[in-house]
């Protein structure tokens, strides 16, 4: 199996997902399941900490696209933080940062809610 994992933390009423490894076509469904689970339990304030995310493919980014509007329409948001340059570059190339929140630091994102 590919090296990818998701751990969940809670900071007050904000759910933080720590994603580690490579988020690609094979691992995208793991992220989908995590986001779905959060939405199911009505945790709409979501921070995804990408400090240990080494790689992201379009399919991985697609998972965010599939859920971010739903979460926003429910009064929450998905904020991405702590990306390395390589990962950020993919988001940037596709035009993601102009539309959604990508922040340097997790605490900044947590405060932003």
């Amino acid at each position: 199996m590919k090296n990818f994992s998701i751990a969940r933390r809670q900071i007050d009423n904000i759910s933080v997902l720590d994603v580690t490894g490579e988020l690609d076509a094979h691992t995208a469904s793991q992220l989908e399941n995590s986001l779905k689970a959060l939405i199911d339990e009505e945790s709409y304030r979501i921070v995804v900490n990408c400090s240990r995310l080494e790689y992201i493919a379009s399919a991985g980014l697609g998972v965010f696209m599939a859920y971010i509007e739903d979460v926003r329409s429910l009064g929450g948001d998905i904020k991405l933080t702590n990306m390395n340059d390589r990962v950020y570059n993919v988001f940037d190339l596709l035009g993601f940062p102009t539309l959604y929140d990508i922040l340097d630091d997790e605490t900044e994102a947590v405060k932003g809610f």
Binding site: D24, A25, H26, A28, S29, E32, A57, S58, A59, G60, L61, G62, V63, F64, M65, A66, I68, E69, N89, V90, L93, L94, G95, F96, T98, L99
Partner: protein, 572 residues
């Protein structure tokens, strides 16, 4: 200490320094906006001009637009001036109202202004336009020279920064292209490892959402005439069958206009629909909603969508073929099993019959077939010999053959006449099989002492009885109609022949006499069979039988179309 400088020298040194610093500032900037703004501010400040603007030529449009504007009662930034000038104007460094009144009129500005051409060695970029000085004095030639120098430097800076921006833009697009290709490459590798259609469809969806930054998406497939949605995102309600049919009827690339007569598209805000073909048949449709970046779908996006769509489609096709292959494998295994069972229905070893040399064989053209033969000992120590050929081939024929075998074995030990038993078998077969299924059937009984043979022929190729010393065989054709064609209306009749030493009885199915030559123009026929048997009359039954099979194989060049079954019985 040197000689003190004169005011004029100091002045010119100051101008030189300004020029140098400004030029460094401008040249190092890659932002045309910054360059233009500074150019305007520096010149206005330097000459104490209360209003000025920079107008930029838009090649192809025959107009200028106001890029920067300062001061009152003046054109506003982003205003458009429709004007186009000849080369002798656009190559002129400084243009003044007293000389070129028409230029000022065309631009709609006072003739008291001065125009400085923003140009590179081969390009007219626009004009720096300065209003009259605050004190209404004319510009001195020194001032004009200074501004001209600044304009030239600025023009170069602007040209550079434009080039820089264009390069950056091209680089960015290149990066994006590389990413697109990477996505395709990576997915083609990923898809290769996937056999689950749902997973493929899901990954395809996420890749599309991420790549195009969309949230509305659907992917429909037509698998063997059944159209279904295989993955979906952001769709309010799935299309019904009627709407699905409409989606498959759209052009291969449809930019949705609302005129398509498909409310599913407009209800769900679908912008673009792409049809995907496999061997020229449309079996997939992908639809995408608006992009979050508000960009539309150009040729590049359509191309990408088609490429990725085709990739997903091919992968799904591959899984279907794989399943088909597995299914085929399973069928073959079952057929192999059926073959074993069918082989078990034939007598092996053949029961010996005292006073006779018996050989028999069945060569199937497929794994299972419809030919049947049997030899069994009866309670009275007599022997029953049977041969049959079910119409058709393969599994259906083999089922019927098995059915016949069980009936025969059930009836054989009973005290029923051959005619009566044949009639019963016929009625059962007729009742239980479709009207196009028949069995040609022959059976007969050798009496317990081996003197006589009583038989019934139900439409089978008549077995041949070669009498000792005669070349032309007697044909055993007494009986009745083929089994299964109609209920037994007329009773079957039987006949009886006696056996003498050296008599030879040959049973066969039409696979023998109807074997074809390789040209498919001629059948083996009875006369070749008779010739072959006569040539080998003196051999054992087994050897005669093998001689016939060899002869057929030679005739047909080993291409077998039908089952071949034979029984050879020689009275010793």
């Amino acid at each position: 200490m040197g000689t003190p400088l004169s005011t004029e020298e100091r002045h010119s040194r100051f101008e030189l320094r300004t020029l140098l610093e400004t030029s460094r500032l401008l040249i190092e900037s890659h932002d045309p906006d910054f360059v233009l703004n500074n150019l305007l501010l520096i010149t206005m400040g330097k000459l104490l001009v209360p209003k000025g603007m920079i107008i930029i030529h838009k090649p192809g449009d025959e107009e200028y637009f106001v890029s920067k504007s300062k001061g009152r009662g003046w054109l506003q930034e982003d205003d458009i001036i429709e004007a186009e000038f000849e080369a002798h104007i656009t190559e002129q460094g400084v243009i003044r109202g007293d000389e070129y009144a028409e230029v000022f009129d065309a631009l709609g500005i006072e003739r008291e202004c001065t125009l400085f051409n923003l140009m590179t060695s081969n390009h007219h970029l626009g004009f720096l336009c300065l209003g009259p000085k605050g004190n209404k004095e004319e510009l001195t030639s020194g001032e004009i020279e200074f501004i001209e120098s600044l304009t030239i430097i600025s023009s170069v800076a602007i040209a550079n920064s434009r080039m820089f921006q264009e390069l950056r833009y091209i680089n960015r697009r290149l990066d994006r292209k590389v990413h697109d290709l990477n996505t395709l490459l990576e997915l083609s590798k990923d898809f290769n490892l996937m056999v689950d259609r749902d997973e493929i469809a899901r990954v395809f969806k996420f890749a599309m959402l991420g790549q195009m930054l969309i949230r509305t998406f659907f992917f429909a497939l037509d698998i063997e005439g059944t159209k279904t949605i295989v993955s979906i995102s952001g769709i309010k309600e799935e299309p019904d069958r009627d709407q699905l049919d409409k989606l498959f009827e759209l052009d291969d690339v449809t930019h949705v206009s609302g005129e398509e007569g498909c409310h599913f598209l407009t209800d769900n805000d679908i912008d673009l629909v792409i049809g995907l073909r496999f061997q020229n048949e449309k079996i997939g449709v992908v639809g995408v909603g608006p992009r979050a970046t508000k960009e539309g779908y150009g040729t590049e996006e359509v191309n990408f969508l088609q490429s990725l769509g085709n990739l997903a489609l091919l992968t799904i096709q591959k899984t279907l073929l794989l399943e088909e292959r597995l299914e085929k494998q399973r069928m073959e295994e079952e057929l192999g099993l059926a073959k074993t069972i069918q082989e078990g229905l034939l007598p092996n070893p053949l029961p010996p019959i005292t006073g006779f040399d018996v050989a028999a064989t069945n060569v199937s053209s497929r794994q299972v077939g419809g030919d049947y033969f049997d030899i069994l000992e009866l309670p009275d120590k007599g022997h029953l010999l049977a041969i049959a050929d079910v119409t058709g081939k393969g599994v259906p024929a083999s089922l019927l053959m098995a059915n016949l075998q069980s009936m025969l074995h059930a009836l054989a030990p009973l005290d029923v006449s051959l005619e009566e038993a044949t009639a019963r078998i016929n009625d059962i077969i007729h009742d239980n099989t479709p009207p196009d299924k028949f069995i040609t059937f022959f059976w007969g009984k050798i009496d317990p002492h081996g003197y006589t043979f009583k038989y019934v022929n139900a439409g089978h190729n008549p077995p041949m009885l070669f009498r000792a010393g005669k070349e032309e065989p007697e044909l055993l054709d007494e009986g009745g109609v083929i089994l299964g064609a109609m209920p037994t209306l007329m009773p079957y009749t039987s006949s009886e022949v006696d056996f003498k030493s050296g008599d030879l009885l040959v049973f066969f199915t039409d696979g023998v006499t109807e074997a074809m030559n390789p040209e498919q123009t001629e059948e083996y026929e009875e006369h070749r069979l008779i010739d072959c048997i006569n040539k080998n009359r003196d051999l054992t039954s087994e050897e005669i039988m093998n001689a016939v099979i060899d002869d057929i194989n030679q005739f047909s060049n080993n291409i077998q179309y039908d089952d071949i079954t034979m029984i050879v019985v020689k009275a010793s």
